[in-house]
Each structure stands twice: as structure tokens, then as C-alpha cells.
Amino acid sequence: MIDNGLLVQMILGALLGLSVYLPMAAGQLSLATPAFYAVGGTLAALLSTQDNAQAGITLGAMVGEMFLAAGLTAGLALLVGLPVLRLRGIYLAIATIALVEIVRVAILNLPFTGGAAGIFGIPQPFQQPLGYVLFSGGLLAACGWLCQRLEASRLGRSMAAIRDDELASRCMGIHTTRVKLTAFVASAVLAGITGVIAAHYLNTWNARQGSFDVAITTLAFVILGGSRSWLGPVIGGLLLTALPELLRPVGDLRLVLFGLVILLGPVLFPQGLITPALLERLGRWKP
């Protein structure tokens, strides 16, 4: 049975999946999501524990943190993206993994981020998990709506063109650097604001939250869900976050089964669960 606490984690997973999907929609394999997630989470943790008010934090203050995190991660993504996006394929992936490590080691060693123990006693904007569900669910809905709009827009079509053939799309007059950078920045902003919600939800924040493991997990959301539509990473994130918890009744075997799903998913669904063909069939279907 899925309780609201788990539902929050699922929605956060879906948001992170979307963040990995955005650069991928423009053909860029970026694993930098955990770095921006960590920056957002650390920022929220630092700001909200400033005056040591354990009691609570207003929703407005959290939204403020989200705007700040969005600004900070966008700036960072611009700074990093310009040189890094010149790389392609596996080289870009490695460069973004390096970014994740740099951010992790920085958070571990900065004098004000609490070292390895991290920052704890982060105040809560909501009394019940339902509040987080509604808030993060609303954010997911808004992101989904934007992605749906994006697919029909000029930017979205440019991204799809670059994914199919970067050289050809440049010849057609698409400013590929700008499009790739836009996707990268959007991905960073989404990861950053997700980090803000996660920091409050988790009550505590430390360097482990933005590790290389998270990069792999979020990449798995996209691979299993499908990278050709924004619904793929959303559904992948929801399912893969819930699965280990839903498998609890099988006891010690649950992680074995989870691993099996990760293994068999790409074998049985090479394009992910949500493929363009599936969406087309759904669109033509008449009840």
C-alpha cells in the first residue's frame, strides 16, 4: 500500500527523471542532475536553519528558496554548460559526473555545510505528507504541461532535430549551442527546485544526497520509462521509486527482485515503457 510519504518520494523521483530527460531530448547525455539537486537542497537547508526556528517555515519562504535555488542553479548551469556542452556522448557524461563529484566534495568540505553529518532540523512547511503531495504534485503537473507544450513549440522541435542529427539541424539554421544550453539550464533549474522540496521533506541534508549513485538511479528512470516522451521518465521515476517499497512483503529478496526488474526492463522494453508508437495508438484509440 502506498502512503502519502512514499507518494512524495515517487513524485520527487519523477521530477528528477524529467530533469535527466530534458537534455536527453536534445540528444545530450548529461548526468549532472544530482549536482544541481544537491545545490538546491543545500541552499534550502542553509537558509531555513539560519534563525534556528525548529517550529516551522511558511510556504512563501519555501517558494522563495525555490526561486533562489532556480537562479543559483541556472547561473551555475550556464557557467558549466558553455564549455561542457561542446563535448558529446560519453565525454559529456564523464564531464557531468565530474561536476557531481566536485559539488559533493565541496559540500563535504565547506565550513558551513555541516561536513559529513550534514544539516539537520530543517523546518517543515506542511504538517502532513499530504501537503507535500499536493505541492510537488502541482509542480509535476506544471512541468508536465510545459513539456507537453514544448513538444509542439519551436524550441521543442529544435531539440528533437538536434537529437536526431546535430549537424543537419545546424545546417538548417538551428542555433544548436543555444538550444542545448537552454535544455541544460532547464534541467538544472528543475533539479534545483526539486532539491529544495526534498531537503524539507527529508528533514536533513548531507553530501550523500547528491552522489553518483543518484545519477545512475535517475538515469534508470529515463531508460526504463523511455526517453522519447516526457511521460517516460515521469512514469519510470514513479514506478522505480515505489517498487522497492512495494516489494517489502517478499522480505530479504526484495532488492534481488528490484535488480531483476532493472535488468529485464531494457531487455523486454528496449525503448522504455512509453514509446512513441504506444502514444500514437493511445491517441487514435476511440472508446
Partner: protein
């Protein structure tokens, strides 16, 4: 004709967009339904049935990188369960064990699950970092938590429902340094190693270094390592150039074990003092004969000669081919025993009569903090804020046997501390 066949010559892109809009609506509907079904069904308001067993939840790190500790804890709790079930007890207790893994979201999920199942108390989680994430949830819902192995500063201060049976490292750590200095009073040169990406080790090394400073010793070398490191040649060479007489290590079992071994292999002959992360018999196979002589301060000594510790040792040996238990298992036993005894005391007074689960949790928390317990760790009780008060600590030295594959912690000193030391 075309229409009767149901064919619809629309553009594939339009169909795809319509399909994803439909699927998105379905996902949103499913999420809304899940949110409605999973809305807080807090069992705290329900009355306790008078005779049914009370549910006790434990969330331990059975998987992930803390699983070495979690498995020891599972062993300790199940032995305590077996032993206490055999004693006369007016109220049956049923244990519900869940995997809290080694990360924060899993600990939160396990706590949520157990709370929803109506447990009266929680034991866990294994790591202090997890406790900072999961304990506030139990606190908000008024569920007592007894931490078996959280040693970081500030755990009981998370709230009135949070307590622990694991003494803070600031209490234990100084003892082993003092023992080393007692053996070599002229020591001037000390080197410090710690795993800088581990919450426990960084907190502990700060305490070690404070103790050293208080004894007038400034480390000649401070080396930072990582939990995942296997090769310590560089930091060891750098430290040995300073010719240390004592090496102080704060690390976890695997990296710390390797570090000790490589220190000896590279020719260090002085004393080695290690922290609580190496406080497990699991280090013997790692550093083997090179473990010999390592000094460690402990909150538990297997050599404590009390009936409850003898029972613990006997049960542990029966279940583990004659091995001796370590501190982690002893503390887990203690956590279970403390909760079990508090429940029985409340039951004897008729305290659970006619209460809701929420009130019973509150009542039990009060009883828990007021009691005194005779455990394998020795006699313990709690401060009003939930911090454990343990009077007796131990300094042990590792003695490896002739094969170099197995050994034991031999007691070198037993120390009574003033009861209300921080």
C-alpha cells in the same frame, strides 16, 4: 467506408500528442487516487485491544553499506526476543522488523510503514544521518524511538520521544587515548587519521583531537581518507615521516581494517588507538594478525560478569558457532530489552487499560525514561531528554590467535564514569 472501419487519417504527431495528453490525465488521476487512499490513516486514535500483543517496530540497515551493523543488530534483537519471551511477562509483544537500508529515504519509508501498522515503539534506524531524517517523523506523530546505534551529537534533542541506548562518542573516545598515554607517558608525537566522508568518523576525530589537545598534544600529522579507499600508502607515508608514537584512527570497519594492516606493513611499530567504527569482530579477517595490540574504548565488554550478559554471550555463541558478541549486537539487545521491560511495567500497573494507541505511546515513553535497566552493557538509565546514562565503560585490546584469522577484544581497563557526565 473509411469511417465505418474506424480509421482516422490524422497526422501521427497529432495522434502522439493526443495520446500523451490522455496518458498524462490517466497518470494524474492515478496519483490523485493514491493520494486520497493513502491520506493519513493514523492509527493513534484507535483504542488498544486489551489482550492482543503490542506491536514493536524495528527499522535496521539490513541492506546498503551499513548492513554489517544492521545484521549484527538483527542478531542482537532476535536473541533478546528469544530470551525475554522465555521470562514471565504479562503482556505479549510482537516484533515487526523492516529494512531501513542505509539511506535517508528508505529509513523514512520504513518508519512511516511501521507507524501506520500501529507499532507502539520504534527501534532504529542504524545510522545517525538516517536518524536525523526519520526521527522527526516519529516525533511529530508521537511514537517513541529507541536508537540502538546513533552516536552523533544531538540525536535525543530531536524531540521528546527520541532516546538512545548508545553512548555518545564524546563519552567513550577519551578513555582509549588515556590508556595509550598511561602506557607511554613520554609520548609527544601523535598522528591522526579519519574518514572524511563519514559522519561518524568526522565527529569522533574532533573529539579525539580535543582530548589530545587537552593532554597537551598537538597532532604532528592529520590525514583524511575516504570510506571507499583501499590503498592508504600516501597518507601513511606522509604520516610516518613525522615519526608518530601513537596513531589515532577514526574510520569504519573495512577501510579502518585495511589502514591498520597497511600501517604495520609499512613499518609502523607504535601504538594504535581506534574509534568506535572498528568496534566489531568483523575487522579480524581484514587486518588479521596486524590487528594485534590495537586499543579501543567500548561501551560493552563481553567479559562483564552479570547474569544478563552471560545469557547474552551464551545465546550469541550458540547462534554463531561460538563467536563472542560485539558492542553493536549488545546495544541492539539492550534497546529491545529496555522497551520490553517498560511495556511489562506499564502492563503490571494496568496502565494500558482503556487507552488509545496514541496515549499508550505517550505513557510508554514516560515509563521508558523513568526506568532503570540491567542490561548486557551494565546498569543503564535515561536522562529526561532521552540520553542514555551508562556508568561503566571499558578499554579493550585486540588479541589475535595463532592463526591470525580470528581474535578477541580483551579487557584492559574498566572505568566508572560519574553518572551525569555529558
Amino acid at each position: 467506408m473509411l469511417r465505418s472501419g474506424g480509421l482516422n487519417p490524422i497526422d501521427p504527431l497529432v495522434a502522439r500528442r493526443r495520446g500523451s495528453a490522455r496518458l498524462a490525465t490517466a497518470v494524474a488521476g492515478a496519483l490523485a487516487l493514491l493520494a486520497f487512499l493513502g491520506r493519513s490513516s493514523d492509527p493513534a486514535a484507535q483504542p488498544l485491544s486489551p489482550a492482543a500483543p503490542l506491536k514493536l517496530g524495528a527499522a535496521l540497515a539490513l541492506t546498503g553499506n551499513a548492513n554489517l551493523y544492521g545484521q549484527d543488530q538483527r542478531m542482537g534483537i532476535s536473541l533478546a526476543q528469544a530470551w525475554l519471551q522465555a521470562q514471565p511477562h504479562p503482556r505479549p509483544v510482537q516484533l515487526q522488523l523492516e529494512d531501513g537500508a542505509s539511506d535517508e529515504p528508505s529509513a523514512i519509508a520504513a518508519f512511516n510503514l511501521l507507524i501506520r501498522q500501529g507499532v507502539i515503539t520504534l527501534i532504529g534506524p542504524t545510522l545517525s544521518q538516517q536518524a536525523f531524517a526519520a526521527d522527526p517523523i516519529a516525533q511529530r506523530q508521537g511514537v517513541p524511538v529507541v536508537a540502538p546505534s546513533n552516536t552523533a551529537k544531538g540525536i535525543p534533542q530531536i524531540g521528546s520521544f527520541i532516546s538512545r541506548v548508545s553512548a555518545q562518542s564524546s563519552v567513550i573516545a577519551p578513555l582509549s587515548i588515556d590508556e595509550a598515554l598511561r602506557r607511554e607517558p613520554g609520548t609527544r608525537r601523535v598522528a591522526v587519521f579519519f574518514a572524511q566522508d563519514d559522519a561518524y568518523s568526522t565527529a569522533e576525530t574532533a573529539i579525539f583531537q580535543k582530548v589530545l589537545a587537552a593532554r597537551g598534544l598537538k597532532p604532528v600529522s592529520v590525514q583524511r581518507t575516504q570510506l571507499a579507499d583501499n590503498d592508504f600508502q600516501n597518507p601513511i607515508t606522509a604520516a610516518l615521516q613525522q615519526r608518530p608514537q601513537i596513531v589515532v584512527i577514526s574510520a569504519q570497519a573495512v577501510d579502518g581494517g585495511n589502514l591498520i594492516r597497511q600501517l604495520r606493513e609499512l613499518g609502523y611499530r607504535g601504538q594504535i588507538v581506534v574509534g568506535n567504527g572498528l568496534n566489531t569482530p568483523n575487522i579480524y579477517p581484514i587486518c588479521q594478525r596486524w590487528c594485534d595490540g590495537v586499543l579501543i574504548a567500548q561501551a560493552y565488554s563481553p567479559e562483564l560478569n552479570t547474569p544478563v550478559n552471560l545469557a547474552f554471550r551464551r545465546l550469541f555463541a550458540d547462534a554463531n558457532q561460538g563467536r563472542t558478541p560485539g558492542q553493536i549486537a549488545a546495544q541492539a539487545w539492550t534497546a529491545y530489552q529496555v522497551v520490553f521491560e517498560a511495556i511489562q511495567r506499564v502492563q503490571k500497573r494496568g496502565g494500558f487499560e482503556g487507552l488509545t494507541l496514541g496515549d499508550a505511546r505517550q505513557q510508554l515513553m514516560q515509563e521508558l525514561l523513568n526506568g532503570r535497566y540491567n542490561t548486557p552493557l551494565g546498569p543503564i538509565r535515561f536522562r529526561p531528554d532521552g540520553e542514555v546514562v551508562q556508568g561503566r565503560f571499558y578499554v579493550a585490546q585486540v588479541r589475535m590467535d595463532a592463526t591470525g584469522r580470528s581474535g578477541r577484544f580483551t579487557l584492559v581497563r574498566e572505568q566508572e564514569l560519574p553518572e551525569d557526565a555529558p
